[in-house]
């Protein structure tokens, strides 16, 4: 059984994955600017950002109402909304869609929370297969050093406090991120991630990404959108 639906749209979907502090957001931002300069129509979609679901997620987090199952389902709902209303229409129109986190984030996080791996993979079967999936590989200590030094207080679910790993929020965050890292590492081969060494300089990482994108996309398309022929990928038999 296929994990995702094939992308039969003319547009391309690029996703970045990795634990917090791996530097993936910086890299996808640089990449999308570069693609724009090369003439592509570029759109951007961030994990957990659907306006339709925002209030529900906020309520659940504020009141600490989530179980592993409802946490998983609300993120899938958020993802579905972005997929149906934003990502798919833009791909049909020939845009390059850059996604900061994709279904793989759920495969890693939700499984760490105790959700059945086969169940959560099935949940995202309506997702389109990315053209390119970059994984930012980074040792836990490096990522934690980037995160824990210069930022606001960690949040309850972000630190995995719902798992009861530790009463100390920073310690909980360490253990939680460590387990998520293990899940990512175990997915690399199956998911066909392009692994970026996230301990290298920002410039070196970006150079490697651009090389892979060039190989995948071919020469620049100054006309803005990719292709003209639209074949709709449908989520049904």
């Amino acid at each position: 059984m296929n994990l995702f639906l094939p992308n039969r749209c003319p547009g391309r979907l690029i996703v970045v994955e990795g634990i917090d502090g791996s530097g993936k957001s910086t890299q996808i931002s640089l990449l999308s600017q570069w693609l724009r300069l090369r003439g592509y129509a570029v759109a951007f979609s961030e994990w957990n950002s659907s306006p339709l679901v925002r209030e529900t997620t906020r309520r659940g987090k504020k009141k600490e109402m989530f179980t592993p199952t409802t946490f998983s389902l609300i993120h899938a709902t958020d993802f579905a909304d972005r997929m149906e209303r934003y990502i798919v229409p833009l791909l049909k129109a020939g845009a390059v869609v850059c996604a900061d986190r994709y279904a793989y984030t759920a495969f890693a996080r939700d499984v760490v929370r105790g959700v059945d791996p086969a169940w959560v993979r099935n949940l995202y079967r309506f997702a389109l297969k990315p053209s390119l999936a970059f994984y930012f590989k980074v040792p836990l200590d490096v990522a934690l050093g980037r995160i824990l030094g210069g930022r606001d207080a960690l949040k309850y679910y972000e630190a995995g406090m719902d798992l009861g790993l530790s009463r100390n929020i920073e310690e909980s965050f360490r253990i939680f991120q460590g387990r998520i890292l293990e899940q990512y590492e175990s997915m690399i081969e199956d998911m066909g991630f392009h692994v970026i060494d996230a301990t290298k300089s920002i410039e070196a990482q970006q150079k490697q990404m651009r090389r892979i994108v060039l190989r995948e996309f071919g020469p620049a398309r100054p006309e803005g959108v990719l292709g003209a022929e639209v074949k709709v990928a449908r989520f049904q038999k």
């Binding site: 529900t56 309520r59 179980t67 389902l73 899938a76 169940w119 099935n122 949940l123 049904q236």
Partner: protein, 253 residues
């Protein structure tokens, strides 16, 4: 699809919830299912006081009533931006929240849980909109296998009469207008509800629905439900199983 009818009570369909001890669940789970306007809520309203009179503590629940997602779903349905897959998953979130935070605690406390719709309406709506059955079936597979699922069945003509006489107008969502099943509200209602009934019929065998003819009077439907529910309490399969085990044990002289 395996036959769930003979499974022991209160297990899950295909996926266990993390961290739940299913053996703690003592109560009864009774589901009333069926298409829109078929009279489910009326029956739940009658069954609840009847069960309470018999001495059972009853929790009644239904779709979009969760503390987590109920409000969000209602707001999303008022807008014009709720996509079909998003809708399925939003309802699945609502269901899971009620399952884990209402239904399971009530069953643990020995309540009778009476639910107006269950996973089957979510499944039927998804399948009627062309979403893969295997996808929604596995997603909803975290649900508990109920002690009984009563499928209130009526044909589309009967549903139309109920809508026109009852509310006097067709509803946007009950007509499936989000997916444009027909040229106008009426045509879309007929086409969408026909699809829903077909899906419920397809689910009847595999999920062991007890089909109740809902074209009869409300009084007659109530009597049928009372009869079947009484039998659930009379023939408690778990109690029966425990009794058999006791009998099977060699008695010491």
């Amino acid at each position: 699809m395996p036959d769930f009818r003979n499974r022991p009570p209160l297990s899950y369909y295909s996926t266990a919830l993390p961290g739940l001890d299913y053996s703690e669940l003592q109560g009864k789970l009774i589901v009333i299912e069926g298409p829109d306007a078929v009279g489910r809520s009326t029956q739940v309203q009658r069954l609840k006081p009847w069960l309470e009179e018999l001495g059972h503590a009853v929790l009644d629940t239904g779709m979009a009533r969760s503390a987590l997602a109920g409000k969000g779903i209602k707001e999303a349905k008022e807008g014009n931006t709720l996509g079909p897959i998003t809708m399925t998953l939003y309802y699945a979130t609502d269901f899971a929240d009620r399952l884990e935070n209402e239904i399971i605690p009530a069953l643990r406390a020995g309540f009778v849980v009476l639910t107006d719709r269950y996973i089957f309406s979510i499944m039927a709506r998804a399948i009627a909109r062309g979403q893969l059955r295997s996808w929604i079936e596995q997603t909803a597979g975290i649900a508990l296998v109920p002690h009984a699922v009563f499928y209130l069945r009526a044909d589309v003509q009967n549903l139309i009469r109920r809508v026109v006489v009852g509310k006097g107008a067709f509803d946007y969502w009950e007509s499936g207008l989000d997916s444009r099943f027909g040229g106008d509200m009426y045509e879309s209602f007929v086409s969408y509800q026909t699809r829903l009934i077909r899906v419920f019929d397809q689910l009847t065998g595999p999920y062991g629905f007890e089909v109740v003819d809902a074209t009869r009077s409300s009084e007659q439907v109530f009597e049928i439900l009372q009869g079947s529910i009484s039998r659930i309490f009379a023939m408690d399969p778990a109690a029966d199983y425990r009794a058999k085990r006791r009998r099977a044990r060699p008695s010491r002289p």
